[in-house]
Homo-oligomer: 219 residues x 2
DNA sequence: CGGGGGGTCAATCAAAAGGTTGACTCCGGG
DNA sequence: CCCGGAGTCAACCTTTTGATTGACCCCCCG
């Protein structure tokens, strides 16, 4: 049986080195290539495809300072003729991140602070076409199926994130290319689901429930 | 000349492995020990001191999920009889992070996305007692000196905290036993000092600068 | 003792946010 | 094929928030 060939995508050299060292130490896994951002990842995939060296799984960070971020890169990869599975390996497990990743077509969501053996299993499973989710990610997705009425839709989470950055309704409207009226509608829905009646309380509630990251935390 | 002996402190196994692999690859640097959080770091320092094996520099992450965080750990290390230099190696270069680190007594501030050679130089320099700062960190500190910023009064911080919990002006007034008018006055002052013009932006700004804790986060 | 900063309050106006109702589209599942 | 949820938008009205101005008190510091 051949090794699982991994493409590492992370903007931090330190993290790439860590994953490389860690994964290369396992039987049955080898590093096909590395990339520091989304564009580079797509280039690497193209290059390896031409060479005939397939990639069995892409290990992708969500937060990347410059260039195309993890969500965009995942979406792009999914558009390829034969897209490899994308396993998200990131630092945060907020609803916002998880939903964005799943929407973009990721086939797994793991946290960087997971023990090495767990990461190894996730990589192998993802390469085999399985879906692997961190406990919190799994719980979130389950919950959305069992009670769809009470949980926020991706759109609502998106607006909530913008809300938390301190934008006015008008600013949110401009940024999302919808009308201010629609923003208000969404906010009313959000308030109802969170059980609050103003924007600051919504931010507090959403932060507490880890639906969004605390305001001002980088993404 | 002996190797520079490094204590790694980071809660992510992946990052520790990366730093270990990277630094161990350089001449003149060796890894004395690792720790996953502040408490563990202090224990390692104590243990190594007893053994007579000094630590020349502590390489510390600021963001650590559980246990004592990087700032607190740095402050604790500075209280030791012969504190080793603490070089902060972290992901973000926000004002709040940099200032907190410097105030805690860090002797350097580097970013994880720095190229390996730069990290190597920083480690060696810090071990030699020098101060090493990432460009943005240096710029920020310079700016602080030339431009002594208007800081919030304790009262203003208190109101900001209540604001962040989602209370309305009236509710804040009731809770602090002052009139709604006074609450408004304070908020106007706060907005001016933070450079914002509404409450959600104030929460975002204050959270980012670590003036207040993220909503719903215990002290 | 005089000035200034911090804290308190009021009145007023303008702007933003909140709540309600109703309506239209699109899409997926029974 | 119809229903319902998600998303979009508008009109309308109420409440809250933001901005400005001016005032009073207290206390510390020069």
């Amino acid at each position: 049986m051949n090794d699982v060939r991994v493409l590492l995508v992370d903007d931090h050299p330190v993290v790439r080195a860590g994953l490389k060292a860690m994964l290369a130490g396992f039987e049955g896994i080898s590093i096909a290539a590395e990339a520091a951002d989304g564009q580079a990842a797509l280039k690497e995939l193209a290059r390896l495809t031409v060479l005939g060296d397939g990639v069995d799984v892409v290990l992708m960070d969500l937060q990347m300072g410059a260039g195309m971020d993890g969500v965009a890169a995942t979406a792009e990869i999914r558009k390829l003729a034969v897209p490899p599975p994308v396993l998200i390996l990131t630092t945060y497990d907020t609803d916002a991140d998880i939903l964005a990743a799943v929407e973009a077509g990721a086939s797994g969501y793991m946290l960087k602070d997971a023990p090495p053996e767990q990461i190894r299993r996730a990589v192998v499973a993802a390469a085999a076409g399985e879906t692997v989710l961190a406990p919190r990610a799994a719980a979130l997705l389950m919950n959305r199926i069992t009670n769809p009425g009470t949980s926020l839709t991706p759109r609502e989470v998106q607006l909530l994130e913008l809300l938390a950055t301190g934008l006015s309704n008008r600013a949110i409207a401009r940024q999302t290319f919808i009308s201010e009226a629609t923003v208000k509608t969404h906010l009313v829905h959000i308030y109802g689901k969170l059980g609050v009646d103003n924007r600051t309380a919504a931010i507090a509630a959403a932060t507490q429930r880890r639906i969004i990251r605390p305001p001002g935390q980088p993404g």
